[in-house]
């Protein structure tokens, strides 16, 4: 997670690329959802929420309609809770009209093992019953451990397990970038 500080991290996407990629995803959502009329965007904290907000702004530009956007914290649904100390909970905020019968697009920064998305699907189950659930990610780095794939991918980034992918967003980190770095000395299985 902190390898980018060591100076070996290499940017694979910069600010303008990220903006372009999000515009493309927004257009894809409109196209696939035939106008995005019943779309609800749910970001997965922390950076997924910012991406969801940016996507919502772009969708509004395209369709001229306000797209509901919220956040979905999946911490308490994780399957590795018993392997780490409990983490502080992030905010879950479901738009006022709920998600029943809507097309929910989950938004996250990096898709890796797929376990976060599995947890998110469980969490959605407890909140309502969407018409369909789709997944949008900025980066897909592979190495899935579950049969999960994204509907909208900003960039496919084939990586090795010895590498780290770090997404930085202006809202949280002061700049927009996707950084590819080498894992420091962490032994395998740290996940």
């Amino acid at each position: 997670m902190d390898t980018h500080d060591s100076g070996v991290a290499r940017p694979v996407l910069e600010g303008p690329d990220i903006a372009r990629v999000l515009t493309r995803i927004a257009h894809e959502i409109v196209e696939r959802a035939k106008g995005a009329e019943d779309v609800v965007l749910l970001g997965i904290p922390t950076r997924g929420v910012f991406l969801a907000q940016r996507l919502a702004a772009k969708l509004e530009e395209i369709t001229g309609r306000k797209i509901p956007v919220g956040s979905l914290d999946i911490t308490m649904y994780r399957d590795d809770l018993r392997m780490h100390p409990p983490r502080a909970l992030a905010r879950t905020e479901i738009p006022g009209d709920g998600i029943d019968g809507r097309l929910v697009v989950l938004v996250d920064d990096v898709l890796f093992s797929g376990r976060t998305i599995r947890a998110a699907l469980d969490a959605l189950n407890d909140i309502g019953r969407p018409r369909a659930v789709q997944l949008a990610v900025l980066v897909d780095r592979g190495h899935r451990e579950l049969p999960i794939r994204a509907d909208y991918v900003g960039k496919n980034l084939p990586t090795s397990l010895r590498e780290t992918v770090k997404v930085q967003l202006a809202e949280e980190d002061g700049r927009d970038a996707v950084l590819l770095g080498a894992k420091p000395t962490a032994p395998a299985g740290e996940r």
Partner: protein
């Protein structure tokens, strides 16, 4: 590493704020149609109640069930304890059953501490009230209620109660609620004033981090929150005040007194209320009285405590290590996605 919650005094400011923030998220679960999380699936929690308590036991039970823990309720009445079994034997029985946490209410001050430190049992111990000593989850839910009302639900996140003035009125001597509240409110930066008849003020109160007054009317206009305590007749083995009428005249809260409080100030009561004694029906039923909110907040706080102590492989709450060294309860790293 803190594996147990025995006393409100054990909590650091950061721990207390973390618990309050976590409870705020837990409270959102209560607003959903499905009020359940899979977080403690497969964990067993025993509610070990040696002393009668409906409110606290139900609150813990609701919290445990909302987190999907397996719950075993144990009341001393009609159990082997009434046949003469000791706390140690009970603990070892629970240990043999593989219990992950014990929520204990006991009439003897220090029973939860003994259970946690004796080596009889490996489980996390949560104090649900011991004698006249401590009731930490009550103090946490009171602080949570104050933060919501006085700082704000969203604005309160990450905040403590710095500068808030809290008055606790009544039977301080027998009150574990008062002790726990003084400890926690001091940690959170609030100024606490105890108001009670001199006979109901404990010896050694001068060492507590609070002020003491015998005059309720002087303190009321300067209070942001006024917490009325129940007069615990069952613990009174001597004449602590001449008559109930006199107590209620000097230390009871009625509409007239409430009018002297600042407009934003709230009235709290840990329950059960004795209407007409320490609080009049007029006050108890007013908008400023938070008794019902406190009950709802109790479930959220207990969910937060159970999650932070039991949710992972080691507790997130600590009082031995500085906050900077605490294991990351931070954002997800991409390695975990």
């Amino acid at each position: 590493m803190m594996r147990h919650l025995i006393s409100a005094a054990d909590l650091t400011r950061d721990d207390a704020v973390l618990i309050l923030d976590t409870a705020e998220e837990m409270a959102r679960v209560a607003d959903r149609p499905i009020k359940k999380l899979p977080t403690l699936r497969g964990r067993t929690v025993v509610n070990l109640f040696f002393e009668d308590s409906t409110r606290t036991r139900i609150s813990f039970e609701a919290a445990e069930k909302r987190l999907s823990a397996d719950v075993i309720n144990f009341t001393a009445k009609g159990s082997s304890v009434s046949k003469g079994e000791s706390l140690k034997d009970t603990a070892q029985t629970l240990e043999a059953m593989g219990v992950d946490a014990v929520v204990i209410r006991h009439g003897a001050s220090g029973a939860p501490y003994t259970l946690a430190n004796s080596g009889w049992i490996d489980a996390a111990v949560i104090n649900a009230g011991d004698g006249t000593h401590q009731h930490p989850t009550q103090a946490l839910l009171d602080a949570f209620t104050m933060r919501r009302r006085l700082v704000g639900r969203d604005a309160g996140l990450g905040q403590d109660l710095a500068g808030k003035r809290v008055t606790i009125v009544g039977d301080i001597l027998h009150s574990r609620v008062a002790r726990s509240n003084v400890d926690l409110l001091h940690t959170l930066g609030a100024d606490v004033t105890l108001v009670a008849p001199p006979t109901l003020v404990p010896v050694g109160v001068e060492h507590w981090p609070c002020e003491v007054s015998y005059d309720l009317d002087r303190v009321l206009p300067k209070s942001d929150a006024v917490m009325m305590l129940r007069v615990q007749r069952e613990r009174m083995n001597a004449a602590f005040f001449p008559t109930e009428r006199e107590y209620s005249r000097r230390y009871g809260l009625d509409g007239e007194r409430m009018a002297r409080m600042p407009e934003h100030a709230i009235v709290m009561h840990p329950g059960p209320m004795v209407r007409g004694m320490e609080i009049t029906a007029e006050v108890a039923d007013s908008d400023r009285c938070t008794v019902v909110e406190q009950v709802a907040n109790g479930v959220s706080i207990r969910m937060a405590v159970l999650y932070l102590l039991l949710g992972g492989n080691e507790p997130a709450v600590t009082h031995t290590r500085p906050a900077t060294e605490r294991p990351a309860h931070t954002v997800l790293s991409d390695e975990e996605k």
